[in-house]
């Protein structure tokens, strides 16, 4: 007895150590210099928690390795293969998928504990009743949140990946809001039933089904481009689901770590929303309501019809102006990612640098379709970290730049965000490319970007449009520069 208690004590102290490693890991992940190390620190914590638990289990029931080890191996191989195979540009959907797995795992843990308890004794109901109503409550919450996280993440994965069962456009059923609230109410009701009749296992299955459906419904109504924020939020949910599973098992490792992820994920969601100038509520309630949801309603929006005339130019002319400049700021956007133009851009910059021209990159926090999208792509192409400028230094640089070269960016350069209170972008901090001496914009047409509104930048006197696919135009520029 004494020894057993010491055993639990020791295990829990090691769990606490793991939690402390997670705390340090998360903190270090928030700073560029320490991020990679932070990830390693948190991985060590996870290894510790897993190994401790494994030996605890196997020590008691050695035969359980017969199925535990294969399960671990299966998951380990699957995880490794997925992580190695995925392309850099598919990171967001990968995170979404893995997050979904975390959600369903918490669901399974809660259900497994319930049915284990159920299966143990002839006097089933009494056994579960003994655990008290809080047991049923946390079973219900873990199952519901886990299931919502699972299908929600899978939908987000689908939309980011562009598969056909998950259309990019938001799909709103008639009265969707009420269906969602109805579903949540139903879940609450079923959890209450379970608390009153803890032996009613069919409720657990039914609850799972309803929550799975709700997860789909919550995310299907949101546009594909909002998915990064949705994934961040679902990540927070998966933490809460793990914490609830921790309540079910009375396990502090799960409770502490789950709530850490739950709250820090919420903060991260908030930070990401702010960078996109949207409110957390807007996202929390599943994107239902006000804001225009992405490109779908682009043509319907007022601002989408061109105002004034844009001046067209060619790669040849652009090359001449660029060659004469002494400081060039490249402003990449979603179009560069679509065209996979990052390598061409790197070549282009090298060409200019050979000629003694200073090239920097102005990276807007929400350029592209995921946070850090441009950083990842440019890093992949081998662009040095120190020429990537964040919003503020980039704007300082743009004030004195000779040429701003906008490559497939649109919303993040829209000057209407600064002064036009009627613009949906109003208030979002933007890159002031219009302050550069000359602006070249590479895109295929005058069509709007993600927000679905026209960009007055294109009709300014000092702006020249170079129409075409980003990769093609930049390659042309490189050729022209070589010839000069």
């Amino acid at each position: 007895m004494t020894l057993a208690i010491l055993g639990y004590d020791l295990i829990n102290l090691l769990y606490l150590l793991a939690a402390v490693l997670f705390i340090f890991g998360l903190k270090m992940l928030g700073r560029v210099e320490t991020a990679a190390k932070g990830n390693a620190v948190s991985a060590v914590g996870m290894l510790l928690a897993t190994v401790v638990t494994f030996f605890f289990i196997v020590d008691g029931t050695w035969w359980s390795i017969l199925w535990i080890v294969p399960a671990l191996a299966l998951g380990g191989v699957a995880g490794t293969v997925m992580a190695k195979r995925v392309e850099m540009t598919q990171m967001p959907q990968m995170v979404a998928l893995l997050n979904g797995f975390g959600g369903i795992a918490s669901l399974l843990v809660a259900a497994a504990d319930y049915f284990n308890l159920y299966g143990v004794s002839g006097e089933t109901v009494r056994a579960i009743s003994l655990a008290g109503p809080t047991y049923s409550l946390t079973i219900g919450l873990a199952v519901a949140i886990g299931a919502i996280t699972f299908t929600g993440s899978i939908m987000a994965f689908g939309k980011l990946q562009g598969v056909k069962w998950a259309p990019d456009q938001p799909i709103q059923l008639p009265g969707q809001k009420w269906i969602v609230f109805g579903g949540l109410g139903l879940l609450a009701l079923m959890i209450t039933f379970l608390m009153i009749w803890p032996g009613g296992w069919p409720w657990v299955l039914l609850m799972t089904l309803v929550a799975l459906g709700l997860g789909v419904l919550l995310v299907i109504g949101i546009g594909g481009a909002d998915m990064p924020v949705v994934v961040a939020l679902l990540n927070s949910y998966s933490g809460v689901a793990a914490a609830m599973a921790g309540f079910v098992l009375n396990n502090y490792a799960l409770i502490i770590t789950g709530s850490l992820v739950g709250s820090s994920g919420l903060i991260l969601t908030n930070i990401m929303c702010k960078a996109m100038n949207r409110s957390l509520m807007n996202v929390l309630f599943g994107g239902m309501g006000a804001a225009p949801s992405g490109a779908a309603n682009a043509s319907a929006t007022d601002g989408s019809t061109p105002q004034g005339t844009a001046t067209e130019s060619s790669a040849e002319d652009a090359a001449i102006v660029l060659e004469a400049a002494s400081s060039v700021v490249v402003v990449p956007g979603y179009g560069m990612a679509v065209a996979q133009a990052q390598h061409a851009v790197k070549e282009f910059a090298a060409e200019l640098e050979n000629k003694g021209i200073e090239v920097t990159y102005a990276v807007h926090p929400v350029a592209g379709r995921m946070p850090g999208h441009m950083n990842v792509l440019l890093a992949e192409a081998g662009v040095e970290y120190d020429v990537l400028l964040d919003l503020e230094p980039a704007n300082a640089r743009l004030e004195t730049a000779d040429v701003a070269l906008v490559i497939g960016a649109n919303d993040v350069t829209n000057p209407a965000a600064r002064h036009d209170t009627s613009s949906p972008l109003y208030g979002m901090p933007i890159l002031n490319v219009d302050h550069a001496r000359t602006v070249f914009v590479i895109k295929r047409s005058l069509n709007p970007g993600f927000a679905g509104i026209q960009n007055p930048l294109y009709f300014q006197d000092n702006t020249r449009m170079v129409f075409g696919d980003a990769k093609k135009v930049v390659t042309d520029l490189v050729n022209e520069l070589e010839q000069i």
């Binding site: 997670f22 705390i23 998360l26 992940l29 928030g30 700073r31 991020a35 990679a36 990830n39 996870m46 897993t50 289990i57 008691g60 029931t61 199925w67 535990i68 399960a71 671990l72 299966l74 998951g75 699957a78 995880g79 490794t80 997925m82 992580a83 995925v86 990171m91 990968m94 893995l98 997050n99 797995f101 975390g102 795992a105 399974l108 843990v109 497994a112 319930y114 284990n116 308890l117 299966g119 990064p228 990540n235 793990a242 599973a245 309540f247 502090y252 502490i256 709530s259 850490l260 992820v261 709250s263 994920g265 919420l266 991260l268 930070i271 926090p365 946070p371 850090g372 040095e384 970290y385």
Partner: protein
């Protein structure tokens, strides 16, 4: 002159759980602030890996009880392990991109 009630005055495990939960929530809130945008995706992915802690729960459910329960726990382990292993590796790959070129 009876001291036992006080010595036994421990709250239920559920309430202890709530205490621990609330404290950890505060730590989570304070921990993340002013993250540069280029770290948003790695941070999301890294904390997603951490939420795979549910692997501990899956292991604890997997060794005894009903057959159905253990089968559920089996899949729980598979999914949680995929989340953990995939999550840490993907995060690491992303973060490697940001490091200086000598590491390549």
């Amino acid at each position: 002159m009876n001291i036992t009630p006080l010595l036994a005055a421990a709250p239920s495990p559920f309430v202890i759980g709530i205490v621990v939960f609330v404290l950890a929530v505060f730590i989570g809130f304070e921990l993340i602030s002013k993250v540069p945008s280029r770290l948003h995706t790695p941070l999301m992915s890294g904390s997603n890996a951490i939420s795979g802690i549910t692997i501990v729960g899956a292991l604890l459910c997997s060794y005894s009880g009903s057959v159905f329960g253990v089968i559920l726990a089996f899949f729980g382990i598979v999914f949680a392990t995929t989340n953990v292993v995939g999550g840490y590796l993907v995060t690491d790959r992303m973060l490697k991109m940001f490091q200086s070129k000598d590491n390549h």
